[in-house]
């Protein structure tokens, strides 16, 4: 039996549970995790909870084993496929525990799709890491589509817009909504990596970023109004955010004080309810004409065109098949065109030519 031991003894397989399990020394805690070839016959399907709609992304079925009991909590389709292919053995990701219960198996079946295998990162770490990652990608000339694992609908949405594609990759790879990715990026904006490092060291959480966001926006607005460069703004905002963080015990008071010192300058975060739109329009943007491409009429052309209009006007009066009200409308159009032509030359030019 081929066997690969990943980690021995007391491996908390769901990070956030780890501390809890260690403290309580629960019988349900993992004492070992292996990639191990098991006999298909010995694996039972845990049926108390329905299977997930989408197949497991793990290469192996996930199995919880205690003594003779061996339950597959995710990836049962892989076991079925092996059976159909007349195999008798299958490699599984096996978590060894001292005791198994239906409740424990149900918790694990839910947790396997909710909690990352290596445990959770701090919010400030995610913000920092995404900032670094985006900088990496923006500096490289590589086609970033290669980082998509493909095969799902998101990969169809790639466009020729690198910034948009980065978000699609992050959405796909981190299994997050666009709004969540945008929030990470936004929370990291106008903050130096040094400042983010300090926030990580202090374990700044999402709540902190959310609390200071309005004040941060206000500072950015003030500094932009004073024409500071993006780098200067980043330095000043970072300083202020760290100041807020260092005084986080009095953060509410600090923010209130700041708002009142600003004479209520702080922006209301959501002034209107955001509308939902179903259609997917494309961006339309007019970039202006090249000034040199605009044709300017010279005096000769103006005289020539004006003479032609006058001739046309004369002809209108001689056309007895047209009634007077139609002639009136047409002549008004001619007069406007004439006046317009006359004004196609600036006074300065006109004087020179005369």
């Amino acid at each position: 039996m081929e066997e690969k031991i990943l980690k021995e003894e007391n491996q908390g397989y769901q990070g956030s549970l780890e501390n809890f399990l260690e403290k309580e020394k629960s019988e349900f805690a993992n004492f070992s995790e292996k990639i191990e070839e098991l006999s298909i016959q010995e694996i039972s399907k845990f049926t108390e909870l329905p299977d997930y709609v989408e197949a497991s992304a793990d290469f192996f079925p996930i199995v919880i084993k205690s003594g003779e009991s061996c339950f597959c909590i995710d990836g049962w389709e892989k076991v079925e496929n092996a059976k159909n292919a007349q195999q008798t053995q299958i490699f599984c990701r096996v978590f060894y525990v001292h005791k198994i219960s239906d409740v424990e198996l149900a918790i694990r079946k839910i947790a396997i799709r909710m909690v990352p295998l290596a445990g959770r990162a701090l919010y400030s770490e995610i913000v920092r890491n995404i900032k670094i990652l985006i900088n990496f990608i923006m500096q490289s000339k590589e086609n970033i589509k290669v980082y998509s694992h493909g095969g799902d609908r998101k990969s169809d949405s790639f466009t020729n817009n690198r910034e948009e594609n980065i978000r699609l990759i992050l959405m796909e790879r981190f299994a997050k909504k666009r709004s969540t990715i945008n929030q990470y990026i936004s929370h990291g904006s106008y903050l130096t990596l040094e400042a983010l490092e300090k926030l990580v060291e202090g374990k700044a959480d999402k709540e902190f970023f959310e609390k200071v966001n309005n004040a941060k926006l206000q500072i950015i607005k003030e500094l932009k109004s004073k024409n500071f460069s993006a780098d200067e703004i980043t330095q000043m905002v970072s300083k202020k955010i760290i100041e807020f963080f260092n005084n986080r015990e009095n953060l509410e008071d600090l923010l209130k004080k700041r708002a009142s010192n600003d004479d209520g300058k702080s922006e209301k975060s959501e002034p209107v309810k955001k509308e939902k739109f179903l259609e997917e329009p494309t961006l339309e943007y007019w970039k202006g004409n090249d000034a040199s491409s605009i044709v300017k009429l010279c005096e000769e052309e103006i005289r020539e065109k004006a003479a032609a209009i006058c001739q046309r006007m004369g002809a209108r009066f001689q056309d007895f098949s047209t009634n007077f009200s139609l002639i009136k409308e047409a002549v008004i159009g001619d007069v406007k065109e004439l006046l317009s032509l006359i004004n196609c030359m600036s006074k300065e030019e006109s004087v020179c030519l005369n």
Binding site: E163, E164, A230, E267, P281, G288, E329, L339
Partner: protein
């Protein structure tokens, strides 16, 4: 030296698009009702560093109240707003002007509705005419008594020049400094006719209410250079379109949709050089979370109107110069032609009796 001024409207001390705004417009119901509103107006002036402040009377709120079936009254000793009721009188506007001390204030008016059928327009005009004459005369008299140092603008609530003549006949002789005119659904040639009429009456200052249309600004800029001492306009669109996640094209104020579902061609670069956009892409703006995006867009949109206003004024000394500017910045050849022809007619005939040539603008060939 004439002036073209953009009054930033629809702002308050919480939502203010820049730290240095040339001019702001506020209204009596929101800022003139009690000490809180007046304090808010002062705060707004200090936050925005506005050099000029205009106080609108609240006619728009009366119109909205009428449309929503709310009770309307005119009791000068009662408060302005109460539950489902709006109460406005010329004295309320005067008191607000005395307290807030704006540079300009607008007399109380009862705006006419946006109607297209001429026979219904006639009835609507007649229905409001009495209020508008009475309140213009009363506001002018009260202003002379209580705040003669503040400029007074009389609102023009008419659908056409014939109606304006009726109104003018009845208010002629009152003291005021300029007209304020709602642009509503009037086209450029129609607005132009009103402007020439004001010019021929010797009016020196005009305010166009509620517009940030590229071509209306062009008309205003030309009028500032050729017809009036000062022409101004106000706009709330910087904020309204930001709320809808839209961006003003800095070349011509056309709307650019930046909602989260818009697909952005990577070849399209954002070329606006304002402090907010410089170095940023459309994808960046589009993907900002709502609060950040709203802030970004409202600030950019305000700066875009401000930029266009300045450029338009600078480029409208001569008609050909203005045409060239418009052609450089707008793809709308038809509207450029219409505006150019309108201004060419004005340039040729502005000092001739209006009745003799107004057909050149009103009849569309």
């Amino acid at each position: 030296m004439s002036q073209l001024i953009y009054f930033c409207a629809g702002l308050d001390s919480n939502i203010c698009p820049a730290a240095n705004i040339e001019a702001v417009l506020i209204n009596t119901p929101d800022f003139g009702d009690g000490s809180k509103g007046i304090e808010e107006a002062r705060k707004l002036r200090s936050i925005s560093n506005a050099k000029k402040m205009m106080l609108d009377s609240g006619g728009f709120q009366l119109l909205k109240a009428e449309e929503n079936g709310l009770e309307i009254s005119c009791e000068e000793n009662e408060p302005i707003k109460r539950n489902n009721k709006i109460n406005l009188s010329p004295m309320h506007v005067i008191r607000a002007a005395q307290d807030i001390k704006p540079d300009i204030f607008v007399a109380l008016d009862f705006p006419i509705k946006k109607i297209f059928d001429p026979s219904l327009q006639k009835i609507e005009f007649m229905r409001k005419l009495g209020f508008n004459i009475t309140w213009a005369i009363q506001t002018s008299a009260l202003r002379k008594k209580y705040c003669p140092e503040i400029e007074l603008f009389i609102p023009v609530q008419c659908y056409n020049l014939q109606q304006f003549n009726l109104f003018w006949e009845r208010i002629k002789g009152i003291e005021f400094d300029g007209f304020s005119m709602p642009v509503r659904n009037l086209k450029v040639p129609e607005i132009a006719l009103f402007l020439v009429k004001f010019y021929q009456l010797g009016i020196k200052k005009v305010h166009l209410l509620g517009t940030s249309s590229f071509f209306n600004i062009a008309l205003a800029a030309y009028s500032a250079n050729h017809l009036f001492e000062r022409i101004s306009f106000d706009a709330t669109t910087w904020r309204l379109i930001a709320e809808k996640e839209c961006y003003f094209n800095p070349h011509n104020l056309s709307l650019v949709n930046l909602r989260e579902n818009v697909r952005i061609d990577g070849e399209i670069m954002a070329d606006c050089q304002c402090v907010w956009c410089h170095g940023k892409s459309f994808a960046y703006i589009k993907n900002l979370p709502y609060a950040e995006k709203f802030l970004f867009l409202m600030c950019h949109n305000h700066l875009a109107i401000e930029k266009i206003t300045k450029e338009m004024y600078k480029n409208s000394c001569e008609l050909e110069e203005l045409r060239h500017y418009l052609l450089t910045n707008s793809p709308n050849q038809e509207r450029i032609k219409e505006l150019h022809q309108t201004l060419a007619v004005i340039e040729g005939f502005k000092d001739e009796p209006l009745d003799e040539w107004k057909n050149l603008l009103t009849i569309k060939p």
